[in-house]
């Protein structure tokens, strides 16, 4: 029987030679992830599963990133709860603020903790990011995280898939963010509900790993269970460079069944923006340029990687942040922060009038470090623009690429690079 890439990974982890869409399987887990928001709830549930210890202390990753560095006493209490659990359980992959910290979905690939062929759950919806390295990876809630930490396995309904065939090459200033926003605009925020988004086609070769991380990251914004890329030379090189475990390469069968197939021509994509209050509410930046803005956020698990910072700096082209605009730059991991500093990017940002923050999810989910007041508008490289996402219910978030964000920061308006 022919299978999609996702189905093959699930079959391998369920100890089956084949699975079909709709089938319920129990699958072994290679990694269980949680953050400072979701882990405390999971820790509360964990004892009920009857295990004193987590199934494998090397296969749990706990990342304080959402409200860390602690934004208030309650957040500090949640981080302390997670820190104590990590210590008590001997969890190897606990990442402390400062030391080797970062926003979870930028951090784990960087640390070599995810590899091709893995089956991963994380109590964070953007766990689907690791599809970029050819893993099956999906977001769950805290109870599922607790059960996964206890048992080392969990059940899945095998998803059907949408095939997204990518061809051509990006034009200048167009990136993975524009592709995924365009795709979400095309199929809607529930267009891939319960399904895999499986990427294919010659155009993938032209996508950098950072592009792929951004694209897979936002699969959830189309409702997808996961987004996944085939494993190619670029991917293998990345995995080797980051000391990841040996990849297990699964390729979709040529005759695998898909619910539908879409084609995206990279040459035709233009800088794209999602207007409030849904990621699917997309427009071309050139059609919407000129909208006055109050804030720009460059960062997050979607677009806080080194190439994103480079793109934003390039689009700013040495110009200062426009008067009256706050531009907040948040390198996604400590390592990215250090590399950006050594490259001189952080100095460029600071001299241009940006705030440069330590890694945190912070404003992306309206936590802190850049909350919006009533009526304020923000161009952000983040992933959601729901009502109240970054602050007041009458504030507005416009999702865009780092290049558009950089260009907008210096223009003081939504602008094309």
């Amino acid at each position: 029987m022919s299978m999609t890439m996702t189905q093959k990974i699930l079959a391998a982890h369920a100890g089956k030679s084949e699975v079909h869409a709709g089938e319920l399987v129990m699958a072994k887990l290679d990694l269980v992830l949680g953050n400072d928001i979701t882990t405390p709830v999971a820790i509360g549930e964990f004892p009920k599963f009857g295990r004193e210890k987590v199934f494998d202390r090397t296969k749990i990753a706990l990342v304080p990133d959402h409200f860390a560095p602690n934004k208030d006493i309650k957040a500090a209490t949640q981080c302390a709860c997670m820190r104590a659990f990590a210590k008590e359980q001997g969890v190897v992959n606990y990442f402390e603020v400062g030391h080797d910290c970062g926003v979870e979905h930028a951090l784990l690939p960087e640390k070599g903790l995810v590899t091709a062929g893995d089956c991963i759950i994380g109590a964070d919806s953007h766990t689907c990011t690791y599809g970029a390295v050819g893993a099956f990876s999906t977001g769950v809630g805290s109870t599922d995280m607790a059960a996964g930490m206890a048992a080392g396995e969990t059940w899945f309904k095998v998803p059907s898939a949408i095939k997204v065939v990518v061809k051509g090459r990006f034009r200048k200033w167009v990136s993975g963010k524009d592709l995924i926003l365009h795709l979400i605009g095309l199929i809607g925020v529930d267009g891939a509900r319960y399904q895999s988004l499986e990427f294919a086609g010659d155009g993938i070769a032209a996508l950098t790993m950072d592009d792929r991380f951004t694209i897979a990251n936002m699969a959830i914004e189309a409702g997808a269970k996961n987004g996944i890329f085939p494993v190619d030379g670029t991917c293998l090189e990345y995995l080797k460079e980051h000391g990841a475990k040996t990849p297990r390469i699964h390729a979709a069968d040529p005759d695998a069944e898909y619910e539908r197939t879409l084609e995206i021509d990279l040459d035709k994509l233009e800088p794209t923006v999602s207007f409030p209050h849904l990621p699917s509410n997309t427009r071309l930046v050139r059609e919407a340029a000129g909208l006055p803005i109050d804030q720009v956020v460059i960062g997050s698990c979607t677009n806080g990687r080194l190439s994103d910072l480079r793109a934003a700096a390039a689009a700013m082209a040495g110009r200062p942040v426009a008067p009256g605009v706050r531009c907040i730059v948040i390198p996604a991991t400590q390592r990215i922060w250090i590399e950006a500093m050594k490259e001189g990017l952080l100095a460029k940002f600071a001299e241009a009038g940006c705030v440069v923050s330590t890694p945190t999810c912070g404003p992306c989910l309206g936590g802190y470090m850049g909350i919006l007041a009533k009526g304020e508008r923000c161009v952000a490289t983040t992933n959601r623009n729901f009502v109240g996402r970054m602050g007041h219910v009458e504030s507005e978030v416009y999702l865009a690429s780092p290049a558009v964000a950089g260009a907008s920061a210096v223009a003081g308006r939504l602008a094309e690079p």
Partner: protein
């Protein structure tokens, strides 16, 4: 399990950020979360909602974040059941895992209006709009899932199954106890 209650109606794509805004996620306490339930889409919801009342919404209810705090907040606010045309995947799983009854029924979601008196029979999947005199049929959950929901969710279900009554398990169940 059967519920009857007055309906609070919402549109499509109710996301977890409006169900429980992230600014309140600095606590896992369900009762505290409930005081902010639906705050960014209906500021007075938490003060108006009465025990047993029912939420009816359009498609893709609970899209966005994986925060289990969303179904926890709804459950702790006293809502007995959520009926929607469709649910986002993670919310669907989380709701069952914490024992919040949900019913997927596009026809009911379309026809029922705010303020209607609605009854839900989880065993049969039948939804009745008593105000309008309409009946809808949804796919009932299999018995094990009904037991799981009745137990208050996955962890309690497994804990009961094992007869686990250790003090540690009791401490762990504090948050979910009714």
């Amino acid at each position: 399990m059967k519920f009857t209650g007055k309906v609070h109606k919402f549109a499509d794509n109710v996301d977890t950020d409006v169900i429980i805004p992230a600014r309140y996620l600095n606590t896992p306490d369900a009762k505290e979360l409930a005081t902010h339930c639906m705050e960014d889409i209906d500021a007075s919801f938490a003060s108006r909602v009465k025990p047993g009342e029912i939420i009816v919404a359009g498609k893709n209810f609970g899209c966005g974040s994986s925060r289990e705090h969303a179904p926890l907040a709804i459950k702790a606010s006293g809502v007995s059941c959520v009926i929607a045309a469709t649910f986002a995947r993670i919310f669907y799983r989380n709701a069952l895992n914490i024992g919040l009854p949900i019913v997927e029924c596009p026809e009911a979601a379309e026809a029922i209006s705010a303020g209607d008196a609605v009854s839900v029979d989880l065993d049969t999947g039948v939804v009745t709009d008593e105000t309008k005199g309409l009946t809808f049929k949804s796919e009932p959950f299999p018995p094990f899932m009904q037991s799981l929901v009745a137990a208050g969710g996955l962890a309690n279900f497994i804990s009961q199954d094992r007869g686990c009554e250790s003090p540690k398990a009791q401490a762990g169940s504090r948050r979910l106890s009714p």
